[in-house]
């Protein structure tokens, strides 16, 4: 089996050469860090991944979680891994010092997560979920809550979860019905059903802390009545004793992929003894959740890019070793067959995968650096990074998720019949990567968010800032005659985007709300392709500079390989926006006109 699942060289290229994260250490918040520290962290992430995560990738797929006597058992290594991630300081890596964290830039934390995800997505989800749930408590909880929950969550001994989804409320969280009834005891009595909750019960930890959305009795209808609660599986009595908190496991689901981590159905408060503790103010739950969602959503994009990266390296290795067929120019059948990596069509598939993986990773780290600068800047600069991050989050979540599936599919295709068989990991990657357009908001919902909300946010300010950023990159590229063609193509693409956006906004102006967002998913796709082209041009500028400084040997191959992938993206992927633009500008309405009876046969 292939040993490589990520390119360390590329990861460091992005962090240091493209995003220059060391510059963050000029700000007091990050001043204790250095490039050396960042590199040691990445090296350690890679080591942990190679030793502990990658070797059990397949095992966690076959030995799935089981539901036995009301509890979920998972792979026996999960406990050890949670300890390792806890003791290693990974769970609280980007929390502030006063909470016991390391104040690491998100870019470094997410780069490490990319490595973990690529090595074994299921295994890495446990600690990152703990981190996400802890973030909610840290941001909106009381000091008592922080003292009570954070140390154990950071240590990896208690699992954190995000419990939003209910049978009747997935995309439409406005419709949740889990209720919270106030009591005099400083807690609420919780009752309801939650489904699909990741890691919501397992034997790799001693307790589970659900960050749960519910409605306080009498709260307004819709999203305005949703509150956030901490609901531990075992609550902590004043004596320190852990007492079962009436959170029952009703079952687990059997999934297509990503099988090493359970998704659980919870039955909350069957005996009216489930206590929930309100986080922050009543009725603000969804807005709290969404403030934290950016990181979670970027995580999903990283998961997709990570799996696609592992699939790419597995495919690459195979194509270098599989002899099949001869060159088109070779007519002599007695000559030995060539390795398939020599066929143009195979190289096309490999280039596609690399373009998706490295383009996605670049956009994701771009978002992470926006979050890092937002944290340390003030005033207008802070606002700028915050707007850009909000605008791009649906894109950074959805492009890698959707294209990751196609990327892994092409990786599988490189192996021919073996791609479809379990002798090779491609079939597992193909199943594993499929989750990403579904959880943390479906692609459809993100499309509607981008077009229906983000583009017009603050009078369209975020959108204009984005156009400026992309334009600035295109202008920077002018310095290099070799990049002039792609710089022009990116500028044309921005014109197309503005044109499409303007005609869609016109539809909304005319009051046709349904037609306006009917093709929002296509709009998101178009936006995604342009954003990845932008990231590739950004990388190409850095590479051109490096090649001017005379890179040699291994480095020259690395840079030239990337430049070829960059050209691939502009020649093969970017032109796809033209078809999308044509459809989007047509305002066809055919999907609205279609109706259920017409689907009858």
């Amino acid at each position: 089996m292939a040993e490589k699942f990520i390119s360390e060289r590329n990861l460091k290229f992005l962090l240091h050469e493209v995003f220059r994260i060391e510059e963050l250490t000029r700000y007091p918040y990050y001043e204790d860090h250095s490039k050396e520290i960042f590199d040691m962290i990445l090296d350690t992430a890679l080591k942990v991944s190679k030793d502990k995560l990658f070797p059990i990738l397949e095992e966690m797929d076959t030995d799935q979680p089981e539901f036995i006597d009301g509890h979920v058992t998972v792979h026996p290594n999960v406990r050890d891994l949670m300890n390792e991630f806890g003791e290693g300081g990974w769970i609280n890596a980007n929390f502030s010092y006063d909470l016991g964290g390391q104040q690491l830039p998100l870019a470094v934390v997410l780069a490490s997560r990319f490595v973990f995800f690529a090595a074994n997505y299921s295994a890495s989800v446990y600690p990152s979920l703990a981190s996400g749930a802890a973030r909610l408590i840290a941001s909106f909880g009381t000091d008592d809550m922080k003292d009570l929950y954070l140390p154990n969550m950071f240590a990896g001994t208690w699992q954190g979860t995000m419990a939003l989804t209910e049978p009747q409320a997935g995309s439409s969280l406005a419709d949740i019905t889990t209720t919270a009834e106030p009591t005099d005891g400083g807690y609420y009595t919780m009752r309801g059903q939650k489904i699909f909750i990741s890691a919501a019960d397992h034997d790799g930890v001693d307790n589970i802390v659900h960050l749960m959305l519910a409605k306080i009795k009498g709260a307004p209808a819709g999203v305005k009545g949703i509150s956030l609660f901490v609901v531990p599986r075992e609550r902590i009595e004043a004596s320190g004793e852990l007492v079962f908190n009436d959170v029952h496991v009703a079952g687990i689901y059997h999934k297509l992929g990503y099988r090493g981590a359970p998704i659980v159905q919870l039955s909350v408060g069957e005996n009216n003894e489930c206590r929930g503790y309100l986080v922050g103010e009543p009725n603000k739950g969804l807005s709290y959740m969404f403030q934290m969602m950016n990181e979670q959503r970027i995580d999903v994009g990283l998961g997709a890019a990570g799996i696609a990266s592992a699939a790419y390296y597995a495919a690459l290795e195979y194509t270098k070793e599989r002899p099949q067929g001869r060159r088109m120019t070779e007519k002599d059948p007695t000559l030995p067959q060539v390795f398939i990596i020599e066929h143009a069509d195979i190289k096309r598939m490999l280039l596609f995968q690399r373009a998706v993986v490295e383009g996605s990773l670049s956009l994701l780290l771009q978002c992470a650096t926006y979050a890092d600068y937002e944290k340390v800047m003030d005033g207008e600069d802070k606002e700028k990074y915050s707007f850009l991050l909000d605008l791009l989050t649906p894109v950074a979540k959805s492009y890698p998720s959707e294209m990751g599936i196609l990327s892994v599919s092409q990786g599988l295709q490189c192996l021919g019949g073996y791609g479809y068989c379990d002798e090779f990991p491609l079939q597992q990657y193909y199943r594993d990567v499929r989750i990403h357009p579904i959880h943390e908001g479906t692609t459809g919902i993100h499309g509607i968010t981008l077009l229906g909300r983000n583009i017009s946010l603050n009078g369209g300010k975020a959108y204009r800032l984005y156009l400026d950023e992309v334009t600035a990159t295109a202008n920077d590229a002018r310095e290099f005659p070799e990049l002039a063609e792609q710089a022009n193509e990116l500028r044309d693409a921005l014109d197309t985007l503005q044109d499409v956006t303007a005609t869609l906004l016109e539809v909304r102006k005319k009051g046709n709300a349904e037609l306006f967002t009917a093709d929002a998913t296509l709009y998101l796709e178009l936006f995604g392709i342009i954003s990845i082209a932008w990231q590739w041009l950004k990388q190409a500028i850095i590479i051109r500079k490096a090649l001017q400084d005379d890179a040699t040997g291994h480095d020259a191959d690395f840079y030239n390989g990337k430049l070829t992938t960059f050209r691939y993206f502009f020649d093969y992927e970017l032109p796809k926006i033209e078809g999308l633009a044509k459809t989007l500008k047509k305002h066809s309405g055919v999907t609205i006109a279609m109706n259920e009876p017409l689907f009858s046969d």
Binding site: K4, H33, E36, M40, T44, K47, G88, G89, G553, F558
Partner: protein, 256 residues
Amino acid sequence: MNIVACVKQVPDTEALIKVKADGSGIEEGGIKWVMSPYDEFGVEEALKTKEKFGGEVTIVSIGPARTMETVRTALAMGAEKGIHIDDPALYNADAYATASALAAAIKGIPHDIIFCGMRAIDDDSGQVGSILAELLGLPSVTVITKLDIEGSTAKAIKPIEGAQLLIETSLPCVITAQKGLNEPRYASLPGIMKAKKKPVEVKKAADLGLTVEQKSTVAKMSPPPARPPGKIIQGDDPAAKAAEVIRLLREEAKVI
């Protein structure tokens, strides 16, 4: 207890090694450098010993500037301080010169026990620990998989073909670590941040009062011979082809 662990920076086991055209060594471009895996066992045992008996762990390493990363890695795992001997005269030095430099550095600091890897995975010489012990006038126990310290006695298990030896010696001594001794810990993120502030002295051979003397030199490095191509047995008669396979396995490959 004053504990010393000697570490060497070597190319990652997964690095693609290319021998330089002139045979003077390997191409270093694009190589990732790591702590030699047997030295990791040594560092881990040093840390465990400290955790049990108290004291300090000092890391000693020889090599060019990049070697500092490996020293810092050991500090991030939990060692207290480091000595980095950076002298061109010692780059790619033989086992004797290497051991002399380590001995010169260690002589100057208190040492109750010294850990080395049983060999470095780059030059595979496996001599440094023993020469170091000799130069310091200390006993050494090599290639061990278990260590217990009681008072001033070290009891070590050394596996040999078909058996294992329990070897006792007195402290101070030199121990060389074999796989199985322990499971090296990973650097933790708080450890990595602390490592930056821990003291590392950088020294030249002259600072240690050492004149570098080599007992051997690598005359030439050459890549291993290319693997001979596979053989395809031609013919139409399956029985004859099978017989030929058996003959080749017996006479050429000598595996049956």
